[in-house]
């Protein structure tokens, strides 16, 4: 399955990279595909996201964003992490 089909169809889950500041929800899955991993091999991006605390079930909230919407500051399970929207697209979330 791919992230685009989820966000387009069921309306329940969306990727974190597309959401506005103020969004609150929970992580449903970490899903790395060609569109999100960019220069990193997919498994490497997945591990880095996990190490920064983006694990399934963790609560997330988008706190701030930079000039031109990028990067974003995300509160995830008690820690604040800055990342670009491109990588945030690998984080599938559902609203709280």
């Amino acid at each position: 399955m791919s992230s685009t089909s989820l966000s387009a169809t069921d309306g329940q889950a969306a990727d974190l990279g597309a959401l506005p500041v103020g969004f609150q929800g929970r992580i449903r899955a970490i899903q790395v595909d060609a569109g999100t991993s960019g220069p990193l091999p997919g498994p490497e991006l997945e591990r880095r996201l996990l190490e920064l605390g983006f694990t399934e079930g963790a609560p997330v909230e988008i706190l701030h964003q930079g000039l031109f919407r990028d990067p974003i500051a995300v509160r995830v399970a008690g820690t604040t992490v800055a990342l670009r929207r491109r990588e945030a697209r690998a984080v599938l979330v559902e609203p709280a």
Binding site: R48, E51, L52, H64, A77, G78, A82
Partner: protein, 642 residues
């Protein structure tokens, strides 16, 4: 920068003191705890072969046991991505050559942010070494409403747990007492079961950490509402950038304005030492040569470099302060998009900012950038940032050639022409750094896209004065060591070249006309005359490559030896009568790019691990310097400034 200090320090007496390694996440207060435990009894060097700082120190436990501490670079996992993290992994696994495996791991955790720390501890347990977990910043955690069941936590993790408050005087008592007990009866190290895990293993470890967290910690609903409110302003897409610019402006204002009294005092001190030498030694004969050596070579040389110490300390004070406050990560956040336009990583902001003080700490700070290509690009452009060694060159020439008057009437009367030229030189450095980066990243390395930007934003906290003082003291030591070795030896060499051979009996020309320096300068002059440089400048450029600021000192030596006048204040006047405006402007343009000093080249070589990048860096800056000076000189001559 010594690499000879990798061997463990000898124990004070009897059996060797045990080694305790401090491990923890970045921003957990690990270095503050290290400073609290060791105070001034610490030493910073490098691990062999890499420029990762090796910080070691000593402390006494409650029971009078001496302990050797090593502060390892912060990390989220033992799986290493950067040279820093590789050092941490190899030391805790006892794999680093020349390094003793630690007897005990002191794992430091931010009590207000235990989630990543617990996963790291689960990983550290697989090293088989005894572990003591210090819950640091317990005062803040309590204040924010965290309730942590220490006994349960210790039981669940299977490691000893103590509280600590690194920034309080009594905050390490429990830790030292516990350390005493554990070191008295150390178990033999177990077997290493650790191996690098895939994503599944990280998930499993975090699940276990979350289970323990839920069982032992009651967290407040929002633990960092203060930080969030501050970030609402400081990370605002527009106001945040305005505030960042204001902070940078204040910083440079401080570097120039606050440092002046201290710099004047240092200058006066060295002048007095010079006068004392003149009073003690005769001018004629062999002792005259000694007098010239001591006054012009030693005192003049060291003085011309030490005078920058106040500026460097003020700049580092700001950098350390912003880092301790937690603002540096925010600056990277704000700058990421803007620097990304030039192909640079948001994390490159801190190294480039440090490069305004000196390219050496700047280049060393690029270690936080994981991707090799992003790191190389930052290393290549860092020396284009106007380092403090260029300041004396700029101020000397600007004072001598640019009129000190307002640019215009009305609102323009606030803008001073000299200040505007100074600003222009800084701006030119930044503009060309971005331009070079675009060329490198967008043209040469199109196939290597920029690494993702992923950076934890720590909660804001008040910095501790003691920590700042220790940090500044270490910066000062590094600078003084450099001034006392590289720069001093270059100054002695310059003095030698410009004083030997002595003029023949009955010589009519100034003594320097007969020296080696004049011969070298004249030999290089034909190459540099198209950019408007005379032989004195040609000569000064060569030692200027040892350290940029030495160029001013050697111009002073050349012209004062030639004219027999010794006050440096007169140097500007001497230049104003001898150089054309076109030459002066070309000299400034040259120094925007000035091929970097020998020490910077050395660091580039060590950091990139190859001679190639050092040569690339030297070559491209030399070419840019020549082209810029050539263009400036020729245009100025056409405009009538020749």
């Amino acid at each position: 920068m010594s690499e000879a200090l990798v061997a463990p320090l000898p124990a004070a007496s009897g059996a060797a003191a045990p080694w305790v390694a401090l491990v923890g996440n970045p921003n957990c207060g690990k270095t503050a705890l290290f400073n609290a435990l060791t105070g001034s009894r610490q030493h910073v060097a490098n691990y062999p072969g890499v420029t990762v700082e090796r910080k070691v120190g000593r402390c006494m436990t409650a029971g009078g046991r001496e302990v050797r501490l090593i502060d390892l670079p912060g990390t989220y996992a033992l799986r290493a991505r950067s040279p820093d993290e590789a050092v941490t992994r190899d030391v805790v696994l006892g794999r680093l050559r020349g390094e003793v495996a630690p007897d005990l791991l002191l794992c430091v955790a931010d009590a207000t942010n235990l989630r990543p720390a617990l996963r790291l501890i689960l990983e550290l347990k697989e090293t088989g070494r005894p572990i003591l977990l210090a819950l640091n910043m317990m005062d803040i955690a309590r204040h924010r409403g965290f309730r942590i069941d220490l006994e349960r936590l210790s039981r669940e993790l299977g490691v000893a747990v103590v509280e600590s408050v690194a920034v309080r005087r009594q905050g390490t008592g429990a830790l030292l007492a516990r350390l005493d007990g554990m070191l008295a009866d150390l178990p033999a190290p177990g077997t290493v079961t650790w191996q690098e895990g895939a994503a599944g293993a990280v998930r499993a470890a975090q699940r276990e950490a979350d289970r323990i967290l839920a069982a032992c910690v009651v967290a407040p609903r929002d633990s960092s509402s203060g930080t969030r409110r501050i970030d609402g302003v400081l990370l605002h897409p527009v106001f945040g950038l305005v505030i960042l610019l204001a902070i940078l402006f204040l910083m440079f204002q401080a570097v120039f304005a606050w440092a002046t009294p201290a710099m004047d005092a240092i200058d006066a001190g060295f002048s007095a030492m010079g006068d004392l030498t003149d009073a003690l030694l005769p001018e004629a004969g062999a002792l005259g040569l000694l007098r010239s050596f001591v006054h012009d070579g030693l005192i003049g040389g060291v003085g011309s470099v030490l005078v920058f110490l106040p500026q460097i300390l003020i700049l580092f004070l700001f950098i350390l302060l912003l880092e301790d406050l937690g603002y540096m990560a925010r600056a990277a956040f704000l700058m990421d998009r803007i620097m990304g336009g030039a192909g640079l990583h948001g994390r490159a902001f801190i190294p480039l900012l440090s490069s305004f003080a000196c390219a050496i700490p700047g280049i060393m700070a690029t270690r936080v950038i994981d991707s090799r290509h992003d790191r190389l690009a930052t290393i290549l452009v860092a020396p284009l940032m106007t380092c403090s060694a260029r300041i004396p060159v700029y101020t000397l020439i600007i004072a001598a050639f640019i009129p000190n008057r307002p640019v215009g009437d009305g609102i323009l009367s606030w803008v001073n022409l000299q200040g505007l030229v100074m600003f222009g030189l800084y701006a030119a450095g930044i503009a060309f750094a971005l331009l070079v980066s675009i060329v490198i990243k967008k043209l040469l390395w199109r196939r290597h896209p920029t690494e993702p930007f992923m950076l934890p934003l720590p909660d804001y906290k008040l910095p501790s004065g003691r920590n700042l003082a220790i940090g500044l003291w270490q910066r000062a030591l590094v600078f003084l060591r450099r001034a006392g070795t590289t720069i001093l030896s270059m100054m002695v060499l310059i003095w030698f070249l410009s004083s030997v051979p002595r003029p023949p009996e009955g010589a009519t020309e100034p003594a320097i006309e007969y020296s080696f320096a004049a011969m070298i300068g004249r030999a290089v002059e034909p190459v540099l005359s198209p950019v408007g440089f005379n032989w004195q400048i040609s000569m000064a450029l060569i030692p200027g490559m040892a350290a940029r600021e030495v160029a001013v000192a050697s111009l002073g030596t050349v012209y004062s030896v030639a004219g027999g006048e010794e006050d440096t204040a007169g140097l500007g006047e001497a230049l104003a009568t001898r150089w054309s405006l076109a030459t002066a402007l070309a000299f400034l343009a040259w120094y925007v790019f000035a091929p970097q000093c020998a020490a910077t080249l050395g660091v580039i070589r060590r950091e990139t691990g190859s001679r190639r990048w050092m040569l690339v860096s030297f070559g491209y800056m030399l070419a840019l310097a020549y082209l810029a000076a050539f263009a400036t000189y020729q245009v100025a001559v056409v405009l009538g400034a020749g």
